[in-house]
Symmetry: C2
Subunit: 325 residues, 2 copies
């Protein structure tokens, strides 16, 4: 994908995926096709500074100008929309969470508008809040889910019921019924993996940097779903160390074994909810999605589809619902 | 307890509790009473250096001399014994793990002897290894367990079956039958708590340093053992953040809530094994033991006894079994 727009091919939508650690911009044509894309490190937690930056809003505006100021100046008619942490309390402006159930029209209705002097306004997609005794939140993933639905409807498919898994630092699992998110759950698996590997005794014997050790990963999955896993993850993770001490697991295998344990416990906990034959699609970084697909298969569940890069599709779907394109 | 010995009260045993971060020495009389005790920061991972330290063995000897060289010189007839990480592969000399079942006589038979030029030899108590698909190890706790048994037999009690919980960085639960450790499990609860609090997003909103928030701790326990906890700890821990975001949990309450969640998941996982009425005793730092006692009570289990400071008693019991005192 090019970083530059062809002349004579004006974008209808400039779509931003603005997360904690990076900013991505997509120029999209009148048919929803991505014409050009760019990326910078200016995530919400890594904004640029400069002589004219006197407020957070200045820093957000500068990050936007640095990445695609030329697009905005050349195409003032293009709609500007964003999703992700840019709409959090630590973002440019808070786009309050939407309750469940929510479909694209609900997200579109709740878009927060940020006026930009001398330029087009920025439309910020809200996150989702699942109320309850243990509340749950997402911000950015709601747009990925809409992207999955858009990619399916582009293919003429319209499942009445779908479970979307979004592996990552905080993995989300969202149930979608007739196009609306009705429930979701969060697992901190990715961040727990990082914390255990880097900040506990388990990291001391790990040898990192080798190739992916599939048998070690599969062994972790097997332990988690077997009777050996019954005491739960707080107990089984200690086996990373004891299998090492007893020379049954090399240092190079320990990180993949730990990854298998954690993902295995997550999928085993979800398995009862997946027995009803609901179709599962995984959405995210392909290598990580493959690991979750292995875990689902090891649990005896059908092989899920894997999608990635669907955020611009989701922003397009929401912009369409808002009649912005 | 004094740090100095009275003249005319010679110790029969100089007992060392030599862990990762500290070294404790107990001078014990011919009747097993502790006559004096001292402590230094010279744990196995924090040994002293000096002009005469050319090897790990030199550093261990220096740590010992700095803490109780005067005791050793004045009482060369006293037996010297140690338990803990001093016997690990990173210790003074490795005291190989003993298999299960093990009672004090088995530990005594397997003591590793370290000759000390010009002084009495050091007897190092072995740790325990539970073989199996998920092996388990302990080093130091086996002596605490023997200390619990000694304190009970000093009181004329001899339970045929007992579960000893040893809360800590790595909490151990050991089943004891007729004086022998027959099985044990490890939960990394303490270290996971530290890693989550200090190295994940959960720590960002925690306000530390306040008083213990018992209702927040109890709330965590309740979530873990209720249907809300069914997805497991990788999922429930995210509620530390979402209850904060939705103003249902103050920053000051979040660390105790997390502590309740983690200990609650641990105790809930163990609960099926505790339904048979086995007597439970908790051994360790009293404040932490109180938390585990609350968790057991919340789970509907009987209130456990709490013991602490039993390591010298355990070393005494093992030294007696080895006919060293």
């Amino acid at each position: 994908m090019s970083a530059e727009l062809n002349q004579g091919d004006p974008p209808a939508l400039i779509a931003l995926d603005w997360g904690t650690s990076s900013l991505r911009a997509y120029a999209m044509g009148a048919d929803g096709a991505v014409l050009a894309t760019r990326r910078s490190e200016h995530g919400v937690m890594h904004l640029p500074t400069g002589p004219n930056v006197h407020s957070p809003a200045d820093a957000f505006e500068l990050a936007l100008q640095l990445l695609c100021g030329d697009w905005l100046a050349a195409h003032p008619q293009a709609t500007l929309i964003a999703c992700g942490m840019v709409g959090s309390a630590q973002g440019w402006r808070e786009a309050p969470y939407r309750p469940l159930p929510s479909r694209e029209a609900d997200l579109a209705d709740a878009v927060t508008l940020i006026e930009r002097p001398g330029g087009q306004a920025l439309h910020v997609v809200p996150g989702l809040l699942q109320a309850g005794e243990l509340p749950n939140v997402m911000r950015g993933e709601e747009t990925q889910i809409m992207g999955v639905l858009q990619s399916w409807s582009d293919e003429g498919r319209a499942p009445s019921r779908l479970l979307v898994g979004l592996p990552g630092t905080h993995t989300k699992w969202a149930w979608v019924e007739d196009g609306a998110v009705t429930r979701f759950e969060t697992f901190m698996t990715g961040e727990v993996y990082a914390a255990l590997s880097q900040h506990t005794i388990l990291g001391r014997t790990m040898v990192l940097g080798g190739e992916h050790d599939e048998p070690a990963f599969a062994r972790g999955l097997r332990v988690a779903r077997s009777p050996l896993g019954v005491l739960g993850v707080l107990s089984t993770v200690f086996s990373v160390r004891t299998l090492g001490l007893t020379h049954q697991l090399t240092g190079g295998a320990q990180s993949d074994y730990l990854s298998g344990l954690l993902i295995g416990h997550e999928v085993a906990a979800l398995a009862p909810a997946l027995q009803d034959g609901t179709e599962v699609v995984l959405c995210g970084e392909p290598v990580l999605c493959m690991r979750y697909a292995s875990a689902l298969e090891a649990q005896g569940l059908p092989t899920p589809e894997i999608r990635s890069g669907v955020t611009p599709l989701g922003l397009w779907r929401i912009a369409q619902a808002a009649e912005l394109v």
